[in-house]
């Protein structure tokens, strides 16, 4: 019963007052007796209590070991410890339960997300941008799926061997690739942004460490720069940045999809785990009213004209006056240093505002004819100079005062005759006609950056405006606005709003036609017919644009040569001109209207630089659209002379 028969070490292994619960105590054994520990039966509290003194740790008789046997829940008693353990276990379980509830209810989504991030990867699947077609279904721009190849040199162990494997697929020299893959200062090196998807698959199959492929798309203009200012461009992210690409961004863009897939810690996709959470939907195609062949011919003709005239830039637009469809829209610029003519960075046809010059006289004549101020045979006494509020107006050529018919005034582009007619018409009616024909207002195309022009309200006209405005000064227009007016005249006085988009085509091939806007009559039919007859004389040998004639067809049109303002001085830049020719054919049943504008041409006259380009374009377009030629041998009619008319001047100075 007592441990007195054992030799217990006098050095306690526990602090005084504590007990070992393992039942093992260090026992001093004589040398050679084996292990220093031996199992000894655990002593009951009563035994320990009765032990009293002795040589044990509590042999001094103090403390619990030396007291009388305890009963109930005394500290240190089994009941006390059991209850203590119960409390501890209860608290531990309560804590576990609280944590469990927190995990399962409160923080579950967060931890689920964190867990998913470890193994699940969501990859965006880019939507292919919708194509842009011409009116005959030819593709002008389309998107191709490509892969962006990115390397992480920091985890590439064998750059040379990987470079060797990649080089033939990427078309980059092995040496260059080796240099890029060995550069451990960065973890992100784009090796190729436009790798064809087929080749991308081959790269992926190589299973190279540190090489990642990201699906993307590339916008391709099929014919290079054809109609580039019109089509516009997309930025690096594939978002429309200018032109039609920008205007129809929402239609063309489509909706990207996403794929969720599980990956191993090394980044390998686990087979069978990929599934689409959202299917990528390709963008809707846009069918333009542009004709690809005519656009090509127009650009070629304009480029040749710009190069020949050493112009700074050139604009050419072809339109169907009956439908408002724009068939070609070209803007070219010439590099003064090299002489190379290329597509302009922006669509000058709708963004460049310029003074149209004499081409604007059509406004004056249409209003005067409509209001009965003149007829084609009205004789006007044209002075050599005309003073208005201290300013002297004159014609482009010196001549004495002479009688001219209204047809002659238009054909020969007499400033004096036009101003006298405008004075008879009055500023208010002239201003009203300017507004009615759409100047100073958007054309309705909605093209990005399109200008509405610069037109002063009649209340702000200067005293000399009645002299300058009728001949195309003091008013800023775009080439498209000018063509709209000529198209209205060609269409019997009915204006049909221009349009560039004929239809949208869904990815499934369903065509949604854009409804045509209804035409509005702006010029009385009778006055319009007379005006067309007068315009036919422009392309005659005595008119200002014989070069605009198209063999086999009657052409009606008007030239314009205007000075370029100098913002610094508020006047005009010496020697700087715009040359314009706008017209339509066949004059008796117009099918096509066109305008050609050149900036800084040499020679300066629209009849010399722009009219030939008009003729070239029209010849091609009329044949392309199989427009019937004039019956018999059509020739441009000469304007009637005062002698032929046999009437006295009814309009003159004073």
């Amino acid at each position: 019963m007592s441990e007195g028969h054992r030799e217990v070490s006098s050095v306690p292994l526990e602090r005084p007052g504590t007990r070992r619960s393992s039942g093992l105590e260090r026992v001093h054994r004589p040398p050679g007796a084996g292990r220093g520990f031996e199992r000894r039966p655990r002593l009951s509290p009563g035994d320990r209590g009765r032990g009293g003194g002795g040589t044990g740790p509590r042999g001094d008789g103090s403390g619990r070991g030396g007291g009388p046997p305890s009963r109930g829940a005394r500290p240190g008693s089994p009941g006390h410890r059991v209850r203590l353990m119960q409390v501890v276990v209860a608290v531990a379980f309560a804590a576990l339960v609280i944590r469990l509830v927190e995990f399962q209810l409160t923080s579950a989504p967060t931890y689920r997300t964190l867990g998913a991030q470890e193994t699940v990867v969501t990859q965006t699947v880019p939507a292919l941008r919708g194509p842009i077609y011409d009116r005959e279904g030819g593709v002008l721009a389309m998107s191709q799926p490509v892969d962006v190849v990115v390397a992480d040199p920091r985890i590439i162990d064998h750059p040379r061997s990987e470079a060797g494997a990649l080089a033939p697929l990427l078309g980059i020299s092995s040496t260059t690739l080796d240099t890029e893959l060995s550069n451990r200062s960065t973890g992100y090196v784009v090796l190729d942004r436009t790798l064809a998807s087929g080749t991308g698959t081959k790269v992926a199959n190589l299973g190279l460490r540190g090489i990642t492929l990201t699906p993307s798309s590339q916008r391709i203009e099929v014919d290079g720069s054809l109609a580039a200012p019109l089509l516009g461009s997309v930025d690096a992210a594939g978002v429309g940045a200018s032109g039609i690409e920008y205007q129809y961004q929402k239609v063309l863009a489509g909706h990207p999809g996403s794929t969720v897939q599980a990956v191993s810690p090394s980044g390998v996709v686990l087979p069978g785990t990929a599934h689409s959470t959202a299917v990528a939907r390709a963008g809707t195609g846009v069918e333009l009213t542009i004709s690809q062949p005519l656009q090509y011919e127009t650009e070629q003709a304009l480029a040749a004209g710009v190069a020949k005239a050493h112009a700074t830039n050139g604009i050419a637009v072809v339109m169907d006056p009956r439908t408002g469809d724009i068939l070609a829209m070209a803007s070219m610029v010439r590099d003064a240093a090299t002489g190379a003519v290329t597509e302009a960075p922006q669509n000058l046809a709708v963004t460049q505002v310029y003074e149209p010059g004499s081409a604007f006289k059509l406004v004056t004549f249409s209003a005067a004819l409509q209001d009965g101020i003149i007829t084609p045979d009205t004789v006007v006494e044209v002075p050599s100079v005309l003073p208005i509020d201290g300013a002297l107006f004159h014609d482009a050529w010196a001549h004495p005062a002479e009688p001219m018919t209204a047809s002659q005034i238009l054909a020969e582009s007499s400033n004096m005759g036009t101003i006298l007619i405008a004075e008879k018409l009055g500023a208010a009616r002239l201003a009203a006609q300017i507004h009615r024909l759409g100047f100073g207002q958007p054309t309705g195309l909605g093209f990005p950056g399109a200008s509405a022009g610069l037109v002063k309200p009649v209340s702000q006209w200067s005293p000399t405006a009645i002299g300058s405005t009728p001949i195309g000064q003091d008013t800023g227009v775009t080439a498209q606005q000018l063509l709209d007016m000529f198209a209205t005249v060609a269409n019997g006085g009915v204006a049909v709003p221009p349009r560039l988009v004929a239809a949208t085509i869904s990815p499934g091939g369903t065509v949604h036609r854009v409804p045509r806007a209804r035409g509005r009559r702006l010029i009385a039919a009778g006055a319009d017919a007379e005006l067309v007859k007068m315009m036919e004389s422009v392309a005659t040998p005595i008119g200002t644009a014989p070069a605009a004639a198209v063999p086999g067809y009657l052409v009606a049109g008007k030239t314009g040569t205007s000075q370029i303002p100098d913002p610094a001085t508020g006047g005009y830049t010496p020697g700087a001109f715009w040359g314009t020719f706008a017209g339509f054919a066949p004059a008796q049943d117009p099918a096509l209207a066109a305008v050609v504008v050149m900036t800084h041409p040499q020679p300066i006259y629209g009849g010399s630089v722009s009219a030939p380009v008009f003729s070239t374009i029209m010849q091609y377009a009329l044949h392309h659209y199989a427009v019937p030629a004039a019956p018999g041998s059509a020739s441009q009619p000469l304007p009637p002379t005062p002698a032929q008319v046999g009437a006295a001047p009814t309009i003159g100075v004073g």
Binding site: S197, G272, G607
Partner: protein, 187 residues
């Protein structure tokens, strides 16, 4: 402390508790007599009288068979259910792999179609056609003759001939003002 403790309804202990572990002074109950397995221990009545012994009928044989069958069925279900789940999962995974493969094929075919469309578009574009025509020695027609549509029975008029557009390189404006020096200076 001589009162005997009631017999306990439990399996006979293999050995009595060692008295040394008990507190001093506590009554030590006599060890319960060993019981044979399957022998019912009759409860002791309050008056110390034991209940009379009786014969317990053995469990019916069919009930034992039914119990065995139930146990076998449960075992079969326990084994078959996880195997079925594993099998279905394997089948589903195989289907997913097949689906993924088909989607890859579809994507590849779509890419091929896209590439071919681009190729066709490039072949159709005007600059390619013009270049190819030049390679084949074609030149713009010097004149174009239009053949009018004539109703049957009506004598056709002479066709109008229109000079074709000249090559753009030779577009000239030199003759445009030759007829009138005055008009050449007008706009």
């Amino acid at each position: 402390m001589a009162a005997p403790a009631p017999a306990r309804r439990r399996a006979a202990p293999s050995a009595p508790r060692p008295a040394a572990t008990r507190s001093p002074g506590a009554a030590v109950a006599p060890a319960a007599p060993p019981r044979a397995a399957g022998v019912d221990v009759r409860p002791v009545r309050p008056g110390g009288e034991r209940a009379p012994l009786r014969v317990v009928a053995p469990r019916p044989r069919h009930r034992r068979r039914a119990g065995r069958r139930t146990a076998l069925a449960a075992l079969a279900i326990a084994v078959a259910a996880p195997l079925s789940v594993v099998g279905l999962y394997a089948d589903m995974t195989a289907g997913q792999v097949r689906l993924a493969r088909l989607q890859q094929q579809l994507t590849a075919e779509q890419q091929r179609q896209n590439t071919l469309e681009l190729r066709v578009a490039r072949l159709e574009n005007p600059s390619t056609i013009v270049a190819e025509a030049r390679v084949q020695g074609m030149v713009p027609a010097s004149k174009v003759t239009q053949i009018p549509e004539v109703p049957v029975g009506v004598e056709a008029a002479a066709p109008s001939t229109a000079a074709s557009s000249q090559p753009r390189a030779s577009v000239s404006t030199s003759g445009s003002r030759s007829s009138s020096t005055r008009s050449s200076t007008r706009s």
